[in-house]
Each structure stands twice: as C-alpha cells, then as structure tokens.
Amino acid sequence: MHARFGGVVPEVASRRHLELVVPVLREALAEADTELESLDAVAVTQGPGLVGALLVGLSAAKAVAWANRLPLVPVDHLHGHVASLYLQHEPVEPPFLCLLASGGHTLLIDVAEPGAFRVLGTTLDDAAGEAFDKGARLLGLGYPGGAAIDRLAREGDPAAYDFPVARVSGLDFSFSGVKTALLYAVRDLSDDELERRRADLAASYERAIVSALVARTNEAAEQTGAPRTAVVGGVAANSELRAALPDALFAPLPLCTDNAAMIASAARYTEAVPFPGYLELDAYASG
C-alpha cells in the first residue's frame, strides 16, 4: 500500500488503519476459532509510533474492552518487537542483548527479564530500515527498500564502493551520512553507468549499514556480558545481517515486520489496566 508513495504517509496509514480495524478483529477471532465472549483482556499498542494511527487502534481497543468491561493492556511497541522472540517453539530466555532494527527504530536493548527492557543505544537520525528505503529510492528500486536492496546486492560487489558510516559515541547509531555518500555516488554517474553499477552500489551500501549494526551489537554484547544476542524488527529479515551474526537468534520471519501477535506476546509481561481506568488512556508518539 505504501509502495506508491515510497514510504509510509501518516495520513494514508491512519485512514487505512480505520478501514481495517474491525475486519482484522473479525479475522483474528475466526482464525483462532474463538469469540469475543471468551476473551480475558484486550491488548493494544499505546506507542511509540504515528499518533494518528495509534489512536485508531487505541480507540477501537478501548471500546471493545469497555463493551465487556474487560481489562486493557497498553503495550509498548518496542517491547512488542522483543516479545516476538517469545513466540518461537523454543522461546529465547532472558537475559539477552536485543538488536531491534526496523523502518522506524534502531535500538540496542538489554533484556534482563521478559517484562523489562533497557535501551542501551539508539539511532541519532534515520533508522536502519529507513536508510534502506531511502537508498532504494536513490537507486531507483521499489518499496520496501530493504528487500529490494538485499535481492540486488547478491549480484554486486560489496567492496566496490567505500561508504563510511559515522562512528558516534556510546552505543548509538547514525545512518544519515551513509545515505548522503550514496547520493553523491549516484549523482556522479550517468544513467548508463548507474545501470551497470547498480548492483555494486546496492551491495556496498548494504554492507556499510550491516557492518555498522554488527559492530555496535558486538560492542554492546561485550559491555553487557550478555550470554546471547537476538535480532528483531523488519531488518532482521536481511540476509547479509543474518550471515554476519551467525550466532545470534533471529525472530521468525513472519514476526519480523510489525504484527499483532508480538503485541499479545508482550501483553503477557505488561501490567493490565482494570476497567474503567483505561477509558481516558492516550497514545504516545515517542518512547
């Protein structure tokens, strides 16, 4: 849906959320072969994210919970991503270090227990997935950019270009510089040259982003002494990242991109708000 605009347009996303909010409830209940009457609680993302979209989900969830005076569990979206790891056949047991990389976030998280998470580092500008999307646009590839770059990169030489990723202090990330480097490289090429070098550019760009993610993740693992590293979020689907972190645990592919199963998973470790305390609950845009 967002392919047409080359990214997520808040107003478009929010309109779509409203169209789908009841149909997805119907579908989930049907697929689980259950009914509203047998629910014990309603879990919903409270933030962070696009506030217009969050408020659609939150309003509907409050109404559904209120109708049956059920408790409401307001879940943090980032916690949800971490909790996607608890939905596998052999759930990952804390403590572990978690790299969350998606279109909206790039975070290193220390997970001491299932309900708790402590952010160690974050991106100072673009998220890793956003860097992939913007790079894909510069290369004339489709949306979502991560998958398009990943596919094309397999045919290219990752050492063809040297795209430096800024080293910022602590355990934070910065991806705006690498995007600018790609912009300059593309700008210097004629249309024919770009056509010929596109795969090399994609491979080098992907390598630069992935190396930055891996380097920081390894530093964080050393600092925290975490026995395991896990990777979640849309960028966890990237094949180069998977290859570069052979010992890490990756979220199951269908649970890498945003999904409601991970929110329900996180709800198990989040305090529920009993009726009627949640009726005035508001969404939050940033964490």
Binding site: V9, V21, V22, S59, E280
Partner: protein, 197 residues
C-alpha cells in the same frame, strides 16, 4: 431502546445517552475522554454497555484524527456488542442544534467545512455566499467571525452552546442503522500525499 451517541470530530467532543427519545444525559469534553464520558452517562442511568441497543457516531468533517477516533470507537463498540451503527454528519448535527443557521467547522489551512447548496464542502471562509440575515455556528464561525460578519452574517457569542456539536441531535437525526463497517468517515479532503500527486 437505549442509544449512545458521540462525536469527536471537532475540538469539543460530545456524547449523549437517550432512552426511547428521552435524553438521559449529555457530556462535552475531548476526543480521548469520550468513552469515559459514555461510561459516566451509563453509570448515572444505572445501565452498562451491554444494555445498549444502538450506537450513533459523528462522521465529520473535522479533524482527521478526531473523526477516526470516533469512528474507530463506534465501530469497535458496535462490533463488540453486535449492534448496528448510524453515522451522522457533524455539520448536520450542528445545524439541527441551531435551526436556520449555517454550520461552519474549522478545517485548518485557512478553510472551513460547511454546506454549499446543502452539500458538505471545504472552502475558504471569504468565498461563502451568505444570504441576508444568515447566522453561522461552529468553531469555524468563531475563528472566522470577522470574515463572516464582513460578509453580512451573524455569529453568536463565542460561549454560545450553538457552536459545539451536541450528541442529542445526532440521535434525533439517526434513522438508518447499518453494519458498523458501512459507516464511513467524511474527510472531504485527500491526504497531502495524494493531493501532491
């Protein structure tokens, strides 16, 4: 027949509870509070959500986010209770609360949502054609009082209750009840990204 109505499209959210044509209570607050208001209204009537038989919602036009919050809550509630839903234009409800007046809702970007030849539209306030002795109500009328008065219209004082939608009028106007998803928001504008294309 126990009917709950609410409208969160404009800066003041409204909710009302009506039993068989009798207004049991009405509240004004903010969009994020509207279900808390509804719970209070039911509490005073000694009822609970499960006893509702119909839901009415304001469909805008107004703030896009406000319109969606109302629709999402109404669809969620109707779905959860297995009820049918009626959608009422916020402009129609405003007009019903101020008979003879033209409803004018602030649309941002130097425009207002109003009725042009009876049809909802987004227009610049100074482009309105107002008949002699016209009265304008709504948060758009308050905001553009100078412009509208210069065009010959009368705008009641800022504190007048005529300027805010009141959900009792949504109930009065609600005759057609349908499946929750069949009630559509009244945006009157494309998203920016679509407009730019």
């Amino acid at each position: 027949m126990l009917t709950l109505a609410f409208d969160t499209a404009t800066s003041v959210a409204t909710s009302a509870l009506v039993r068989d044509g009798e207004l049991l209570g009405e509240r004004s607050s903010r969009a994020v509070r509207v279900l808390a208001d509804a719970e209070e209204l039911l509490g005073h009537a000694g009822a609970e959500p499960g006893e509702l038989t119909r839901v009415v919602v304001g469909t805008g036009p107004g703030s896009f986010t406000g319109v969606r919050m109302g629709l999402a809550a109404a669809r969620g509630l109707a779905f959860a209770l297995g009820l049918r839903l009626a959608g009422i234009s916020t402009l129609d409800a405003l007009a019903a609360g101020a008979p003879g007046a033209l409803p004018v809702v602030d649309a941002g970007r130097r425009e207002v949502f109003t009725l042009v030849d009876g049809m909802p539209a987004a227009v610049a306030p100074d482009s309105l054609r107002l008949g002699p002795g016209a009265t304008c109500v709504g948060d758009g009328a308050v905001r553009y009082r100078d412009v509208l008065e210069a065009l010959g219209a009368r705008v009641p004082p800022r504190e007048s209750e005529l300027h805010v939608p009141r959900a009792r009028f949504h109930v009065e106007l609600a005759h057609e009840f349908v499946d929750p998803e069949a009630v559509e928001p009244l945006y009157l504008r494309l998203p920016d990204a679509e407009q730019a294309r």
